[in-house]
């Protein structure tokens, strides 16, 4: 019964996301990796992982788990239901002193169990004028622990205008989700060089600013 409800809610969320954003995915020429991988995306809205999840082909979507902050997604029963039951999120504690588990280990074990991850390496929603915040180092430690994993950069465009922070009514605007070619950790690559390379790969997918003009 619960499985049926979560699937129905998930389907309703997909329909709603498509109705509001008419979201279109742009794929890399060679397609997406069929093995579990890490989708890492820019983060500007609570709806970000919903949009990535919506455009993924169902075959890949069922194995994709968003990585999200436990504080927010365990806050209320509804948040808990959506975050944990519908999207099966890997919930990690943001604040160090509240952690009972190591986030990198949590993510690594999800990958070992055959899941892909949807990850936002900026760590928090970007409210600034910069296109991208500096990446947190978690993604490096995760990849250092699982060096064979593919990393797919994903640029989500326009969703921050659909639902800016603090608003409750979404504005229908067309969003695109652009997937880049898969990347890997290079042998002996240092943390800063790796993070720099990932940020550049992600920014390369962002269209030149049109419309918002911000």
């Amino acid at each position: 019964m619960k499985g049926f409800i979560t699937r129905a809610v998930a389907a309703a969320i997909v329909v709603f996301a498509r109705a509001v954003t008419a979201v279109r995915a742009i794929w890399p020429e060679e397609g997406l990796p069929s093995r579990p991988c890490i989708y890492f995306a820019n983060h500007s809205s609570h709806g970000d992982f919903v949009l990535v999840w919506t455009v993924l082909p169902p075959r890949l979507r069922h194995h994709a788990r968003p990585v999200a902050g436990a504080e927010y997604w365990l806050k209320s029963r509804l948040n808990r239901f959506i975050g944990r039951d519908v999207f099966n999120a890997v919930l990690i504690a943001r604040e160090r002193d509240k952690r009972t588990e190591d986030p990198v280990e949590q993510m690594a074990s999800a990958i070992d169990a055959g899941s892909s991850l949807i990850l936002f390496p900026e760590g928090t929603r970007n409210q600034s004028d910069a296109r991208l915040l500096p990446f947190k180092s978690g993604i490096f430690h995760l990849v250092a622990a699982r060096p064979d994993i593919d990393l797919v950069p994903v640029w989500i465009n326009n969703l921050n205008r659909v639902m800016p922070k603090g608003e409750i009514v979404p504005i229908p605007l067309i969003c695109t989700v652009t997937f880049g070619s898969a990347l890997r950790l290079a042998p002996d690559e240092a943390k800063d060089a790796f993070l720099e390379r990932m940020q550049t790969a992600l920014l390369a997918l962002s269209p030149k600013p049109a419309g918002s003009g911000e």
Partner: protein
């Protein structure tokens, strides 16, 4: 069977005939010139023809469903067009409530007023009420950054995507003597003439186009395509006089006016796309681009056509 529905059937049969012919030509061209899908122009042509089938079936279903079907179809078109338009304009967080009102209040109210046949308020709701109230909603947040540009662009989006577009179904509200229950054929006349004009300009241009007519705005449009398309669409309009309250000469003259409006409307909308650095308004219709790419000429001709018919033919 009423005269209106038998005329409509004849018309639909004719359109299906044209589409079957187009699909056959597209198929032969593909077999001959692009057997492995390598010729982009022919693949695009076939994608366009396929999309035409879907659009014709959708409009046909709306006509069958009657007034409510037509209003729902064009209401949806306005919503999707507005979504494409607002995606490309300057908005800031301070405009959030104004934009929400545009999508969730202005669009439904405009089409409800058509349903209720309240012509007086229908014709001023967006040019007067939305025009004055939307900037008030925006200004309350106190953000003056590019304020004039923001409010002007939202109003322009509403005028084009909602106000002008709603004049297509508004043709249903006209009361024309000896034309009872046949108003839906006026929509068919307008849409067929405008869209055929676009298609024929494309075909004439592809066959004989040499001289670019507006290289800065729309590099694919040619003088030969424009002249050939307008003349042939005008003749087709005249030949369709039997579905209208017009004489053949009047039908031809009206067709001429709406094809001209459609052509220049297309140029205006191209200029906006260039300004914003995009090739298409969106991706809703395979092969055509966005909904506005298909609707731009209809949107520019509909209000003019509506008012000419209303002034000279309706009670």
């Amino acid at each position: 069977m009423s005269a209106a529905s038998s005329d409509l059937l004849t018309l639909v049969a004719g359109i299906f005939g044209v589409l079957i012919l187009a699909s056959a030509v597209g198929y032969v061209l593909q077999q001959r010139l692009s057997p492995n899908g390598s010729n982009a122009a022919i693949e695009n042509l076939n994608a366009r023809i396929k999309a035409w089938w879907i659009m014709v079936v959708l409009i046909g279903l709306a006509f069958v469903a009657g007034r409510i079907g037509v209003l729902v179809l064009f209401g949806f078109c306005s919503f999707a067009a507005l979504r494409e338009f607002v995606t490309l304009i300057n908005t800031r967080r301070a405009d959030h409530w104004a934009l929400a009102a545009a999508f969730f209040i202005v669009v439904p109210v405009q089409y409800y007023l058509l349903w209720a046949e309240q012509y007086g308020i229908f014709s001023i709701f967006i040019p007067v009420y939305a025009f004055l109230l939307m900037p008030i909603i925006s200004v309350l947040r106190g953000d003056t950054e590019r304020f004039l540009i923001r409010i002007a662009e939202v109003q322009w989006a509403l005028m084009i995507c909602v106000f002008c577009a709603s004049h297509v179904p508004a043709l249903l509200t006209l009361n024309i003597p000896d034309y009872d229950g046949r108003n839906v054929l006026l929509i068919a006349f307008l849409v067929i003439v405008v869209q055929l004009s676009d298609v024929l300009q494309y075909v004439w241009g592809k066959l004989f186009g040499r001289t670019k007519i507006a290289p800065k705005l729309s590099p694919s449009k040619t003088v030969e395509g424009f002249v050939g398309g307008v003349i042939s669409a005008t003749l087709i309009g005249a030949a369709l006089w039997w579905i209208t309250p017009f004489t053949p000469v009047q039908a031809g003259l009206l067709a001429f006016i709406i094809t001209l409006m459609g052509f220049f409307g297309g140029l205006v909308m191209s200029a906006i796309k260039r300004d914003r650095g995009v090739k298409d308004w969106g991706n809703l219709i395979e092969g055509h681009g966005g909904l506005i790419d298909r609707l731009d000429s209809v949107v520019f001709s509909a209000p003019i056509f509506f008012h000419i018919v209303r002034y000279w033919w309706s009670l």
